[in-house]
C-alpha cells in the first residue's frame, strides 16, 4: 500500500478550519485510510482501491466531507467550446495501437502552483504511476506547460533514430539512446522492449511533449511561473486512464484550476476529455440495512453518502468522477458504514444455531501427541519450508516440492519428512543434557502428478530418541505402545534406507505400510554434528487413523 506524506498546514488551509491532531487522527482512521502519524506532516497509507486519495487535494475532498465541512458531490465544471471553435484538439494515430494503444488528455488553466500544489502534483503522479499504473506499465502520466504547446497535438510513434531533448538532459538524444543513457530510460526500458517505433506526443510544430511511458521533453516542461497545464495519460486500459486523468484534473480543480475539454480524434471517432459525469448506482435501502444490521432511513443514507462526497437523487447514488472503487452496490454500502462509523456500530453475535465439529484427523493427532507426552517425549515444532541441504545431509534422496522464487536459500523446499529438521533441532541443542527424546506432529508435502495442485499432504508423526544408549529397541517399544493404544497390531519388515543403519531399519506395517523405523547412521549423525546415537520412527498418522477406525 502506498504511503503518502501530506503537509498538515496545507491540509488545514484547504479544509479552511482548524482541527486538533487527535480529531484528525481519529477521523482519518475512521474514514478508511491507514494513519501512520500526525505531526507537522500527516503520514497515511492509502488503500489501493482509493487512488483518488493519493493527492493532497483528493485526500482533503474526502476528509472535508467526512468531517462535515463540505459534503455532497463536488462540482467540477468542464469548459467545452461549441463545434468549430475548439481550442484544444488531439489526434490519436492508429500506429500507437501496436505499442501503447490508449491515450487521454485534458487542459487545466489558471492553476496556482504554490509549493503545496507542486509537491502534491509530483506525489500523486509518482504514486499513481506505481500503484494504479502498475509501475507505468498500465498507466503513464505526462504534465506539460500549456503555453509551450501549439495545438493540435498528436499521439503517434517515431522510429528509434528520431531525436529530442528529454527532461533533465543537456542535448538531444535519439529514442534509442534515451533507453540506454537516460536514468528514466534505463529504468523503464523494459516497457518498450522489442518495438520498432516508440510512442510520442508531438504538437503542431513537431515539438515533442513526451515519450510515454519513459520521459517528458525539456521543451514543454513545467516551471515555477507555469499557469496552464496540458495533461496526457497513456496506457493499456482506457478505464484506468480515464480514472487517472479524472483524479488529476479534479485535484487541480480543487486548488482553483479550471478544466477545459480536449477534442480527441481517434480512428474516426470523436471524444471529449476529461469526462467528469458522476457514476450512478441504484441504492436498495433494504439491502443496505440487511447488510449492515441497521435500520437506517433514506434520509440517513442520504446524509451518510453526502459525507462520503456522493449524492442521492431519488434512489440513485451519484459518485464523484475521481472514484475508481465503486463496482457494485456493496461499495456504496461500505461508504454508508464508514460515514456511520465502525466505532459507533454495536457488535452483536447473531442467533445462528450450528454445531461445532472438529476435523477427526486433528482429534486423532492431538490424542497421539498427548500419548507421546506420556512417554516423556518433548514436542518440537519446525517450519514447513526448509532447505534442500537438510535432506541431503540426512541422505534422503526422495523427490521434494521445490519453491522456485524463495528470497532465501534457507527455504527452498517443502518438507516431505519431519526427520531432517528434527536432527537440526538436536544439533542446535547439543549444549543441553541428554536424554533429548523429542517428537513432532505435522503435515508434510509430497509431489504428486495426479492431484489438482500437483502435491499431496500427509500428517506425520516422528519420534527421535537421542541419548548415549538410544536404540532401535527403545523406539520399537514406543511404536508398540502406540499401536496398542490405537488398537491396531504393528509388524516390521526389514528394509534399507541410506539414513538408517543397515539391518536396523524396518518398514512399519499397520494394515499397510505406514512409515519407517531405524537407528540413524553415524554418517548422518556426524553430518549434523551429533556424536550421540539416535533411534527414530516416522509414520503417516492419516493412514494409521484409517486403519484404526476400520478395525
Amino acid at each position: 500500500m502506498p504511503l503518502i506524506t501530506l503537509d498538515k498546514q496545507d491540509v488545514l488551509d484547504l479544509l479552511g478550519k482548524p482541527i486538533s491532531d487527535d480529531d484528525l487522527a481519529h477521523n482519518i482512521s475512521m474514514m478508511g485510510t491507514d494513519l501512520r502519524q500526525v505531526s507537522d506532516t500527516i503520514e497515511v497509507e492509502i488503500f489501493p482501491d482509493r487512488p483518488d486519495m493519493l493527492s493532497t487535494e483528493g485526500f482533503v475532498m474526502a476528509l472535508e466531507g467526512y468531517l462535515g465541512i463540505r459534503t455532497g458531490l463536488p462540482d467540477f465544471h468542464v469548459t467545452r467550446p461549441d463545434k468549430g471553435k475548439e481550442r484544444y484538439t488531439a489526434y490519436i494515430d492508429e500506429k500507437v495501437a501496436l505499442v501503447r494503444p490508449f491515450a487521454v488528455c485534458a487542459v487545466v488553466r489558471d492553476v496556482r502552483l504554490s509549493d503545496g500544489a507542486v509537491k502534491s502534483l509530483m506525489q500523486v503522479q509518482e504514486k499513481l504511476h506505481i500503484t494504479h499504473g502498475r509501475n507505468r506499465k498500465k498507466v503513464a502520466i505526462g504534465v506539460h506547460d500549456l503555453d509551450k504547446i501549439e495545438f493540435p497535438v498528436t499521439y503517434t510513434t517515431r522510429p528509434l533514430d528520431f531525436r529530442f531533448v528529454p527532461l533533465e538532459w543537456y542535448s538531444d538524444l535519439s529514442l534509442e539512446e534515451i533507453l540506454t543513457s537516460h536514468k528514466k530510460g534505463i529504468e523503464f526500458a523494459h516497457l518498450l522492449k522489442d518495438y520498432s517505433e516508440y510512442p510520442l506526443w508531438l504538437d503542431k510544430k513537431g515539438t515533442v511533449l513526451s515519450m510515454p511511458p519513459i520521459i517528458n521533453s525539456e521543451d514543454t516542461k513545467v516551471e515555477k511561473d507555469t499557469k496552464h497545464l496540458f495533461l496526457d495519460v497513456t496506457g493499456y486500459s482506457r478505464q484506468a486512464l480515464e480514472q487517472a486523468l479524472n483524479i488529476l484534473v479534479c485535484s487541480l480543480a480543487r486548488r482553483g484550476g479550471t478544466i477545459h475539454a480536449v477534442h480527441v480524434h481517434e480512428q474516426g471517432k470523436e471524444r471529449w476529455y476529461p469526462e467528469l459525469n458522476p457514476q450512478e448506482m441504484e441504492v436498495d435501502l433494504d439491502y443496505v440495512n440487511r447488510w449492515l444490521g441497521l435500520t437506517l432511513t433514506w434520509e440517513q443514507v442520504r446524509s451518510y453518502l453526502e459525507r462520503m462526497r456522493c449524492s442521492l437523487e431519488g434512489h440513485t447514488a451519484r459518485i464523484p468522477p475521481y472514484r475508481a472503487d465503486i463496482l457494485h452496490p456493496v461499495d456504496i454500502i461500505e461508504d454508508v458504514a464508514k460515514a456511520y462509523g465502525l466505532d459507533k456500530m454495536e457488535p452483536v453475535i447473531p442467533r445462528v444455531s450450528t454445531i461445532g465439529e472438529e476435523d477427526p484427523l486433528e482429534v486423532f493427532v492431538r490424542k497421539v501427541a498427548h500419548l507421546m507426552n506420556g512417554f516423556s517425549l518433548l514436542e518440537v515444532k519446525n517450519y514447513y519450508l526448509t532447505s534442500r541441504e537438510f535432506f541431503a545431509k540426512t541422505l534422503i534422496a526422495e523427490d521434494v516440492v521445490e519453491v522456485v522464487n524463495a528470497v532465501t536459500a534457507e527455504y527452498n523446499v517443502l518438507r516431505s519428512w519431519l526427520l531432517p529438521e528434527m536432527l537440526y533441532t538436536l544439533s542446535s541443542n547439543k549444549h543441553y543434557e541428554y536424554p533429548q527424546n523429542i517428537f513432532e506432529v505435522g503435515e508434510v508435502i509430497l509431489p504428486s502428478s495426479k492431484a489438482q495442485e500437483r502435491t499431496e499432504e500427509e500428517y506425520h508423526l516422528a519420534v527421535v530418541l537421542c541419548h548415549p544408549k538410544a536404540s532401535f529397541t527403545e523406539a520399537k517399544e514406543i511404536l508398540k505402545a502406540l499401536a496398542q493404544n490405537v488398537g491396531t497390531p504393528v509388524t516390521l519388515e526389514l528394509t534399507e534406507h541410506p539414513a538408517f543403519i543397515k539391518g536396523r531399519c524396518g518398514s512399519i506395517v499397520m494394515g499397510e505400510k505406514v512409515g519407517i523405523i531405524g537407528e540413524v547412521t553415524p554418517e548422518v549423525l556426524l553430518a549434523w554434528g551429533l556424536e550421540v546415537p539416535a533411534a527414530c520412527f516416522e509414520l503417516d498418522l492419516g493412514k494409521v487413523y484409517s486403519v484404526a477406525v476400520a478395525t
Partner: protein
C-alpha cells in the same frame, strides 16, 4: 542426627583437621567429608576454618628473567668502565630498550645524548647495586626457592606482575577443627548403629525400621531439573484458538498448503494484475494446477471480466487461465473459505466454519516477520447475518484472547466489502496495531462459488503476536527456535 559418615569424620577430627589426611583416614571422598563437616558445624561439633593464600608462580618470562635481568646485563658491562655506548652492548635492541627503561627508572645510570649515539653513565646507586641484588632479583630467587606469596614484598610483586614475570592466584585453604562440644561428644562415646535412609522391600518385610527409625531428610534441599514430555507452546495456543471456534459452533475446514492461484486469488476476486499477486510476496511452486470444473472457472472468469450476471462492473480486463493455473503456497487461509463456499449447498445454511493453518509470505524472516505463519479463518454463511454480527464475532474472539482495548476501523481487501480491521491498542507505543483483517465477502466472490448473493462474514487473523505477548517473547523467530529448555520452561497456556 548424625549419619555414620558424620560420626566417622568426627572421630577422625581428634587426630587431624587437614582434609587430605581426613580423606585417608576415613576413606571418604572430599565432597562427603565436606558435607559431614557442614553437618558437624551446624550442630556445633566442629568448625570449618578457611583462609585464603596467594600462590605465586613464575611465567615463562619470569623464568627467563630469573636467569638474568636485562638491566643486570648492562650493570655488569659497566663494572670495568664508567660510561658505555649503547651500540657496544651487543644485546638484542628490544632488550636494550627494556633495560634502559628500568635503569633510568631506578636511577642506576644517566643517559647522555652525544651526536648520534646514547651514552650510559653509571650512577652512585648503580655502583651499589653492582654489589647487591635488585629487589626483583631478590623476590625471583625466593619464588624459585618455593617461598609463599604472603612473605614477599607486595610492591615488588606488583612490578613483576607488570613485567609479566609472575601470576598470582588465590587459593582457599580449609581446615576442620573440633570444638569443645565435639571433643565432649567423642568422650561420651559414639554409637555406630545407622538409621534407615532408604525404604526398601526388605526394610518393610523385616520391620527393620522399628528398632532404628528413619533418617530424616533435608526436605528444603534443591533437586535436579528433570526431562519430561510436554506439548509445544505454540500448539497449546493453537488448541485454544480451535476451542474458541468450536465452542461457538464452528465446523473445521481443511485444505492443501500448495494452492492454485485460481483458489488463492481468482476465486477471491483479486485481479490478475493486482500487486498482491506479485512475485515478491508470493512463493511459487513449479508446475501448473488443474483448475476445478469448467463451469466454476467460467463463472469466476465472467465475474472478473464484466461482473458476471450480477450488477457489478467487474475489473474490465483480459482474464488469463494460465495465470490462474500457477501454483503458489497459500498466502492466506481464506483460500479454504473460498473452497468451502464452493462445496456447500444452499439448503444446508446457515453454516459456520473455521480453520487454523499455515500461510506463506516470501519475506526474509526478521523479528517481526516470518516466511510462514498461522492464520485462523472463519466464515459465517446465512441469510440475515450482517456487519454488526461480524463485529460481534471479532469482539468475542478478541476478548477470549485476553484483549480488552480494541477498535474497528475501515480497511481494504479485494474480496470483502465492507472491510474491517480490528486494531489493538499498544499503550507502550501509544499506537493502534492491526490484528484482524475481516469483512463481508463481496457478491463477486460469493455468487460464482455459492450460486447466490448471500452474506458471508469472513475474517482471518494471525495470532503470532498474541502468543508472543503472552509468553513475553520479543522476536517472532523465537516461537520456532526449538530450544528444548525454552519449550520445557515456558509456562502453560493457561486458557
Amino acid at each position: 542426627m548424625l549419619t555414620v559418615q558424620d560420626k566417622k569424620v568426627l572421630l577422625a577430627l581428634e587426630e587431624t583437621g587437614d582434609i587430605q589426611e581426613l580423606m585417608e583416614k576415613t576413606q571418604l571422598p572430599e565432597v562427603a567429608i565436606m558435607r559431614s563437616a557442614l553437618t558437624l558445624q551446624d550442630t556445633n561439633l566442629a568448625e570449618i576454618h578457611e583462609r585464603t593464600e596467594s600462590v605465586v608462580e613464575l611465567t615463562r618470562e619470569g623464568e627467563r628473567l630469573s636467569q638474568k635481568l636485562p638491566e643486570r646485563k648492562i650493570l655488569d658491562l659497566l663494572r670495568t668502565t664508567d660510561t658505555l655506548d649503547v651500540k657496544d652492548t651487543s644485546m638484542d635492541p628490544s632488550e636494550v630498550t627494556i633495560a634502559l627503561g628500568w635503569l633510568k627508572r631506578k636511577g642506576l645510570v644517566d643517559i647522555l645524548k652525544k651526536d648520534e649515539s646514547l651514552i650510559l653513565k653509571i650512577t652512585e646507586r648503580g655502583r651499589e647495586y653492582q654489589e647487591q641484588r635488585l629487589p626483583e632479583e631478590e623476590v625471583l630467587a625466593r619464588i624459585l626457592s618455593g617461598m609463599g606469596g604472603d612473605t614477599l614484598s607486595p610492591e615488588t610483586l606488583k612490578t613483576l606482575k607488570s613485567r609479566k614475570a609472575i601470576t598470582v592466584k588465590e587459593k582457599i585453604h580449609r581446615e576442620i577443627i573440633l570444638t569443645q562440644k565435639g571433643a565432649q561428644k567423642i568422650r561420651e562415646g559414639i554409637e555406630f548403629t545407622e538409621q534407615i535412609s532408604q525404604v526398601t522391600p526388605e526394610v518393610i518385610r523385616e520391620r527393620k525400621w522399628v528398632a532404628t527409625g528413619f533418617r530424616p531428610y533435608d526436605i528444603t534441599a534443591d533437586v535436579r531439573d528433570i526431562t519430561y514430555g510436554k506439548r509445544h507452546f505454540v500448539n497449546q495456543a493453537i488448541e485454544y484458538v480451535r476451542k474458541i471456534w468450536l465452542e461457538m459452533g464452528f465446523k473445521e475446514m481443511k485444505g492443501p498448503m500448495v494452492s492454485s492461484a485460481f483458489w488463492n486469488f481468482d476465486a477471491l476476486f483479486q485481479p490478475q494484475d493486482h500487486p498482491a499477486r506479485d512475485m515478491q510476496d508470493t512463493f511459487f511452486v513449479a508446475g501448473e494446477a488443474d483448475l476445478p470444473d469448467d463451469s466454476l472457472v467460467e463463472r469466476v472468469k465472467a465475474m472478473h471480466i464484466h461482473g458476471g450476471e450480477i450488477s457489478s462492473t467487474g475489473w474490465n480486463y483480459q482474464w488469463d487461465e494460465k495465470e490462474a493455473q500457477k501454483l503458489v503456497l497459500r498466502t492466506h487461509t481464506t483460500v479454504l473459505s473460498a473452497r468451502t463456499l464452493a462445496a456447500i449447498k444452499k439448503s444446508d445454511l446457515p453454516l459456520k466454519f473455521f480453520s487454523v493453518g499455515k500461510c506463506f509470505r516470501n519475506e526474509k524472516p526478521d523479528w517481526s516477520h516470518l516466511a510462514e505463519f498461522y492464520q485462523t479463518d472463519g466464515i459465517v454463511v446465512g441469510e440475515g447475518v450482517n456487519l454488526r454480527n461480524l463485529l460481534g464475532y471479532l469482539a468475542r474472539f478478541l476478548q477470549k484472547m485476553g484483549i480488552q482495548n480494541f477498535r474497528f476501523r475501515p480497511a481494504y481487501f479485494p474480496y470483502t466489502e465492507p472491510s474491517v480491521e480490528a486494531e489493538v491498542y499498544n499503550p507502550r507505543t501509544r499506537e493502534w496495531v492491526e490484528l484482524i483483517g475481516s469483512g463481508v465477502f463481496r457478491p463477486e466472490v460469493v455468487v460464482p462459488l455459492l450460486g447466490e448473493d448471500i452474506p458471508v462474514l469472513a475474517w482471518g487473523p494471525g495470532f503470532g503476536r498474541i502468543i508472543m505477548d503472552y509468553y513475553r517473547i520479543t522476536d517472532l523467530r523465537d516461537l520456532y527456535k526449538n530450544d528444548l529448555k525454552q519449550i520445557r520452561d515456558l509456562k502453560l497456556w493457561m486458557w
